[in-house]
């Protein structure tokens, strides 16, 4: 089973980001997704910088993928997307149908269908595979059972990737909730999300951590953690994805590596991961339950 590091969803300072990927080069990740997927106003690293990071990671033996933005609103968003599609050095993760359209238009047959494409059935998966997708990332809300059923019902030849660690990306909006928190507008946001290494926690009025504000993206507060579920994940997926977080990402990758290689029992890996979590764990989606739950099968 391959181990992937998903795109960085937060806005870290330039040097912190470069330092992070220098560590990733020596990490057990087989696949690394790079690039900005959340907000077009984030420019600590521009595409050329990301391409340099990508080249460095490739030299370190990683399979590198350039991720595209999830929400495309403006002509400048499309311009950025066209540049990503036009480069031929790295594969592209399509996170919107605009990217699929541009990739198929360019005749590329080597891309990855990202988690926001809403692939919920074998017919849609087959369409994207015929269009050139060679791997797909299941929507985070899809359960293990539904995924297994999809793959069993005549799904095409395509590799499957499952998000197995990180705060769940739950929603995207045109509105920037981080800017709103500071009574700013998105266009003049002062880049307030810069340096919030794990986003901004939203709590219920009882003080319970519920969601995470990450600019225009809303995430879970809890950390989606499938370490204890890895044996069922590997029945469907060839690749598991770890989403970068402020601290301990490399340690998390190591735990997944040891667990995937069966050098560490799932329950023990899960127990050891406690020190790597910024909030309580959850795995409800994988078990067909509310995503917020931490479900232990009896």
């Amino acid at each position: 089973m391959k181990l992937a590091l998903g795109p960085l969803l937060y806005y870290w300072p330039r040097q912190a980001t470069l330092d992070f990927y220098a560590q990733v080069a020596d990490s057990p990740a087989d696949v690394v997704y790079v690039g900005e997927t959340v907000c077009s106003r984030r420019h600590e690293l521009r595409l050329d910088d990301w391409l340099e990071v990508a080249a460095m990671l490739r030299a370190a033996g990683k399979e590198v993928v350039l991720s595209s933005q999830s929400l495309i609103e403006s002509e400048s968003d499309l311009k950025a997307l066209r540049r990503i599609v036009a480069q031929a050095d790295f594969r592209v993760e399509a996170n919107d149908m605009s990217a699929v359209h541009l990739l198929t238009g360019a005749g590329r047959r080597d891309w990855i269908a990202g988690p926001t494409l809403n692939i919920f059935n074998p017919h849609t998966l087959a369409l994207l595979a015929e269009s050139g997708a060679t791997r797909w990332v299941a929507p985070p809300e899809m359960s293990g059972a539904v995924l297994a059923e999809l793959l069993a019902s005549g799904a095409p030849q395509i590799k499957t990737e499952v998000l197995a660690w990180g705060r769940l990306p739950l929603a995207h909006s045109a509105r920037c909730f981080t800017a709103r928190h500071f009574n700013l507008q998105k266009d003049t946001c002062e880049f307030r999300c810069l340096g919030m290494s794990d986003g901004l926690v939203l709590r219920t009025r009882e003080g319970e951590p519920f969601l995470t504000l990450n600019g225009v993206q809303t995430q879970s507060a809890r950390v989606h953690n499938l370490l204890a579920d890895l044996s069922s994940v590997r029945r469907s997926a060839q690749v598991v994805r770890v989403s970068p977080q402020g601290e301990h990402t490399i340690r998390v990758l190591q735990l997944f590596r040891e667990s995937a290689d069966e050098r560490l029992a799932p329950q023990e890996a899960f127990r050891r991961s406690a020190e790597c979590m910024v909030e309580a764990p959850c795995n409800g989606f994988w078990h067909g339950r509310p995503g917020v739950e931490q479900y232990v099968p009896s």
Partner: protein, 337 residues
């Protein structure tokens, strides 16, 4: 604006009485759904069985109005045939167009019923002309409904770069998140707009009077708490009050409705072909009131675009049926973002 660019008024019909009301008050089209998870308003007591739909189609067609069927949730391997059967039934019933979100289903509809008109649902999350043109080239969609995330210049940009007819939301509940890209309800309750056609579903809702006020919960999660004299709202989870950084406020959005009446001339000049009124979950009285106002406003803008002025009486009428009795231009107005 050219004389042939009539803008259609597309109104919600959660039931047969609502459909008749919409038609009687001037809707050009009504949109509706079957009584199951094939559409994104899968609420108890709403929607149509085959008989009611047949009667609705007859009622609308007798008056030269159109009926659009929303089949805008995402089928899965285990329930695929329920969605294709719904498409077959739609073609059988003489539905004027189906509103779809799933590409696999579009391919099925195109192949099985080539004469059936396809609209791309707002749940398809197509926010750019590149995405819309993908669906047009692959499946021949003839209209796309834009998610409520674009500013007015961005809407103009989309229209300028696609041959697909563009429909936008004019009035009703405001989805703050990009439609089809929101799993907040699934996270809290296990039921999602994408797969179950439900957001913050009623069976998970609890109202509870406590010493600190009236509390509204969704699957046990406290969404809001109301003091004496405050009207307790439905716990839609993106419209609750939460604590961020020690401050309690509507961190995502206030309970408010979208109302774009004042943008109508701009939207008409941009070339929109249809305007959608949200609210299949609302009563026939709501449908009557909103359809009447929008019919009048649309007729006015199509007759004399430069002379168009929003009538205060229209706003007063619409605010009566708005969430929180207030309204917003949402993302059309850039500073909202």
């Amino acid at each position: 604006m050219t004389s042939n660019s009539r803008i259609e008024l597309v109104c919600p019909a959660g039931s047969l009485p609502a459909l008749k009301t919409a038609v009687d008050h001037g809707a050009d089209c009504v949109y509706l759904g079957f009584k199951d998870a094939t559409n994104a308003r899968n609420f108890t007591g709403l929607n149509f069985d085959a008989n009611a739909m047949r009667e609705g189609v007859r009622y609308a067609h007798d008056r030269r109005r159109k009926v659009l069927l929303a089949l805008n949730t995402y089928p899965q391997a285990g329930n695929w045939s329920a969605w294709t059967a719904a498409i077959d039934r739609a073609a059988d019933l003489g539905i004027d167009a189906v509103i779809l979100a799933d590409p696999g289903l579009m391919a099925y509809a195109q192949k099985t019923h080539p004469a059936l008109r396809l609209h791309l649902s707002v749940q398809g999350s197509a926010t750019s002309y590149e995405a819309i043109n993908f669906y047009a080239e692959r499946f021949g969609i003839q209209r796309a409904v834009l998610p409520r995330v674009l500013s007015l210049p961005q809407v103009e940009q989309v229209i300028a770069n696609t041959a697909v007819e563009i429909e936008v939301f004019g009035f009703g509940g405001l989805c703050v998140m990009v439609e089809g890209r929101c799993a907040l309800s699934a996270y809290a309750t296990g039921e999602s707009p994408n797969c179950n056609g439900a957001c913050s579903p009623g069976k998970h809702v609890r109202w509870e009077q406590t010493p600190s006020g009236m509390e509204t919960r969704l699957n046990g999660i406290l969404i809001d708490r109301f003091g004496d004299g405050e009207r307790a709202g439905y716990p839609t989870l993106c419209k609750g009050r939460f604590d961020v950084g020690g401050e309690t406020y509507y961190a995502i959005e206030e309970p408010t409705s979208l109302n774009t009446l004042e943008l109508l001339p701009d939207l008409a000049r941009a070339g929109i072909r249809a305007i959608k009124i949200e609210g299949r979950q609302r009563s026939p009285a709501y449908v009557a009131q909103v359809t009447r106002v929008w019919r009048e406003a649309l007729d006015r803008v199509m007759r004399d675009i430069d002379g168009f002025r929003v009538q205060p009486a229209w706003i007063a009428e619409l605010d009566k049926v708005s969430e929180g009795r207030s309204h917003t231009l949402g993302a059309y107005y850039r500073p909202w973002k």
